[in-house]
């Protein structure tokens, strides 16, 4: 180790991977992926993994991704819910890994929910 920069480079690389371990704070954005049998069958796992990847890549330490059970609208799985403090919950449905990445960039990073993926739009 010849420089502090080298040390910080390792720190930043590994820190992102360890964010998962932080206790979730009050002001965190929570991303919930429906992972009951119906969700898994419909392809929820690739969606979940894409979300994890993207959030880590962008080092979004305030985002907490978790699995949840079935929310009772199985025909719309895979379902992803975004819960932001002080805002109404947004529910996305029929998700794919590609759609998930857009939700991260548009909704979580830029604060603009992707209207066409929401349950309201798809159910029409």
């Amino acid at each position: 180790m010849k420089s502090v920069e080298e040390l910080l480079a390792i720190k930043n690389k590994v820190k992102g991977q360890m964010n998962v371990r932080s206790e979730n704070g009050e002001d965190n954005i929570r991303v919930l992926v429906g992972m009951a049998t119906c969700g898994i069958a419909a392809g929820a796992r690739p969606v979940l993994n894409a979300l994890v990847e993207e959030v880590a890549k962008r080092n979004l330490s305030n985002v907490y991704i978790a699995q949840t059970g079935c929310i009772g609208v199985c025909q719309y799985e895979p379902i992803v819910e975004i819960v932001e403090p002080g805002k109404e919950k947004v529910t996305y449905c029929k998700m794919t890994p590609e759609k998930a990445i857009r939700v991260v960039t548009d909704h979580i990073v830029n604060g603009k929910p992707v209207a066409e993926y929401t349950i309201g739009a798809v159910a029409k």
């Binding site: 180790m1 010849k2 992926v33 992972m35 979940l48 880590a56 978790a66």
Partner: protein
């Protein structure tokens, strides 16, 4: 990239309750389900709640599973990791509330704790240097080497108010400045990980859970005092700690964080591990250094102090593991971070190994000045079986007891000294009303008699005489004069012994005599042991009113001391009875008692 992390405790406690098998089973099960690239399994150090081990914590949810068995693993993988359904029956009961899962740091056990020395234990993988770096590891060393002079570092440590955690409580900054002031061609840093106090295991836990922080702290000490070489003296009974420390040293060398020209600063530092055979006296600093030099671990007279002539007769700084564990945080965050925790003369936190008659046994780190009551009632969850708190022993065989009337005493150096106890190295044993204080004093004294190195007479012979007096008292043969002799002998041993072992050996006797004089007198004058512990002073008797004459007890008695006619009251032959207590447990009618 892993979406979930499963942390499994790999501390000594959980390892002995099969956490390695749990880790193997987890890895296998994850593979079988194709989850091995989504879920990471991490073996950590001790979480502190060892009595509830094996401990597992699953992130991102932060679910705290306790007493996990190998058989539970498939369910955890299938339900929690695959389907996202928390396995409620395995949750540490207090975290399972109606609405949601309570985070661990809001449970009674953790709520009042403040983790500085133990901050990474149970958080990172101690065998992965990069995880340590990710939680700011080696940044304090980098700061010292690239921004601070040795004098600056000593000033920060002095200003923090840190005092030695090995038992003595000597100001660490001042100790470092002594070594720094001495000119020599070679100086050393020594870390004392001998941890001889029976019942204490905080140093072990730090080495097992966060070995790099000790390496970093020792290198910082080396820079501050002008030493380029260090030794960690660990007891050989700590194999996991030794293995992780050795791995950590190897990795630190590979990353250039130990060795030559660290951070291109011109500073060199190298580290060695030495194993101690586990003699208590080898924890005494001069004996420890003699032992590292390859000689029989006997203390030598001070002065000269180690700062002048220590290891290999060179200026040496010797500190305890927990003392070192605080250093990186202090350097990184500044002295105020530390000196705003604690009391006027005792800054920062202290780790205690909580044991004995208490519901939550384990490791607790609390701000100095937390009261004993908070530790016992809140963190420790009270005394089991509805029993009553009687006393707490701090400092093990060198320490003293704290009786119930001092439950509200703040745990800090000066408050405890004032009542004849001490902070000590951190053993904290809770006793309830079934403990006999004379017997406890005898237990600790027996330990020191066995461990006395024999070099000086007051300790070698004196402690033995003292033990004989205590044995006489607990046998019911003591006289009131014996009590006076006992007290005088205590002071004689304290004043005339060569090293700390002898100088502190009488403490458990003196402090229990001070706070529980009436209990000593009951043994001597009334030939009674109020707690019912000293076998020669208790009688096991059958109450003829309650006895139904069922003969169950007489069939269980190992020495055939009970006889009687069926359906008539049975009697115990006191000359045969060995007071084993088996009959008491056997009788369904509660007819037998110990008095």
């Amino acid at each position: 990239m892993y979406r979930a992390h499963v942390l499994v405790c790999g501390g000594t406690g959980c390892t002995s309750s099969h956490s390695p098998e749990i880790i193997d089973a987890l890895n296998e099960e994850l593979k079988a389900k194709g989850l091995e690239n989504e879920v990471q399994v991490v073996r950590t150090g001790c979480f502190g709640l060892c009595s509830n081990g094996p401990i597992m914590i699953v992130y991102p949810e932060g679910c705290f599973y306790s007493q996990v068995k190998v058989e539970d693993v498939p369910e955890i993988v299938e339900e929690h990791l695959l389907k996202g359904r928390i396995v409620k029956r395995l949750l540490y009961s207090e975290t399972l509330t109606q609405e949601e899962i309570k985070p661990l740091n809001q449970t009674n056990f953790y709520k009042k704790q403040r983790r500085v020395a133990l901050r990474n234990c149970g958080v990172i993988d101690p065998e992965n240097i990069e995880e340590y770096i990710a939680v700011d590891g080696y940044q304090a060393l980098a700061k010292c080497l690239t921004e601070l002079t040795p004098e600056d570092v000593i000033k920060i440590v002095s200003d923090s108010g840190l005092r030695g955690r090995g038992g003595g409580g000597f100001p660490t900054g001042r100790k470092w400045s002594f070594t720094a002031a001495n000119k020599a061609d070679q100086k050393y840093v020594v870390c004392n990980a001998d941890e001889g106090d029976p019942g204490a295991f905080m140093d072990r836990s730090v080495l097992e859970g966060d070995p790099h922080c000790i390496i970093e702290a020792m290198a910082i000490c080396g820079y501050a005092t002008g030493a380029t070489e260090g030794y960690v003296y660990v007891r050989a009974e700590y194999p996991i700690a030794v293995k992780r420390l050795e791995k950590a040293i190897e990795d630190a060398k590979a990353y250039g964080l130990l060795g030559k020209n660290i951070f291109d600063s011109g500073f060199d530092f190298d580290l060695h591990v030495r194993l101690g055979a586990g003699a208590f006296v080898c924890g005494e600093e001069t004996a420890l250094m003699t032992s590292i030099e390859g000689n029989r671990g006997e203390p030598r007279p001070r002065p000269p102090y180690p700062a002048v002539s220590g290891l290999f007769a060179k200026p040496t700084t010797e500190n305890n593991v927990e003392t070192f564990a605080n250093i990186p945080q202090i350097v990184l965050n500044g002295p105020e971070f530390f000196n705003t925790i604690g009391t006027e003369t005792s800054k920062g936190t202290k780790v205690f190994a909580l044991g004995g008659k208490i519901n939550n046994t384990g490791l607790v780190e609390i701000p100095m000045g937390t009261t004993l009551r908070e530790i016992v009632e809140d963190i420790g969850g009270g005394i089991p079986n509805g029993r009553k708190f009687k006393a707490a022993q701090t400092g093990g065989p060198s320490g003293g007891c704290i009786p119930e009337k001092f439950l509200d005493t703040p745990m800090d150096y000066d408050s405890l000294l004032k009542i004849g106890a001490m902070v000590g190295s951190g053993g904290l044993i809770i006793m309830d009303d079934t403990s006999c204080m004379v017997d406890i004093a005898k237990f600790f004294l027996k330990f020191t008699v066995d461990e006395s190195c024999g070099k000086c007479t007051p300790c070698r012979v004196g402690t033995r005489r003292l033990l004989e007096i205590l044995e006489k008292i607990t046998d019911g043969k003591g006289t009131m004069e014996d009590l006076d002799t006992m007290e005088a002998l205590c002071y004689y041993i304290k004043d005339n012994s060569l090293c700390g072992l002898g100088q502190t050996a009488p403490n458990p006797v003196l402090s229990s005599y001070r706070h529980f004089k009436e209990e000593y007198i009951a043994h001597v004058r009334d030939k009674k042991c109020p707690a019912g512990v000293c076998k020669n002073l208790v009688q096991i008797t059958i109450d003829p009113e309650k006895c139904k004459g069922c003969s169950a007890c007489s069939r269980k008695c190992p020495v055939g001391a009970i006889s009687g006619k069926i359906k008539e009251p049975f009697v115990i032959d006191q000359s045969k009875c060995i007071k084993c207590g088996v009959c008491i447990e056997t009788c369904r009618f509660d007819a037998i008692s110990r008095k």
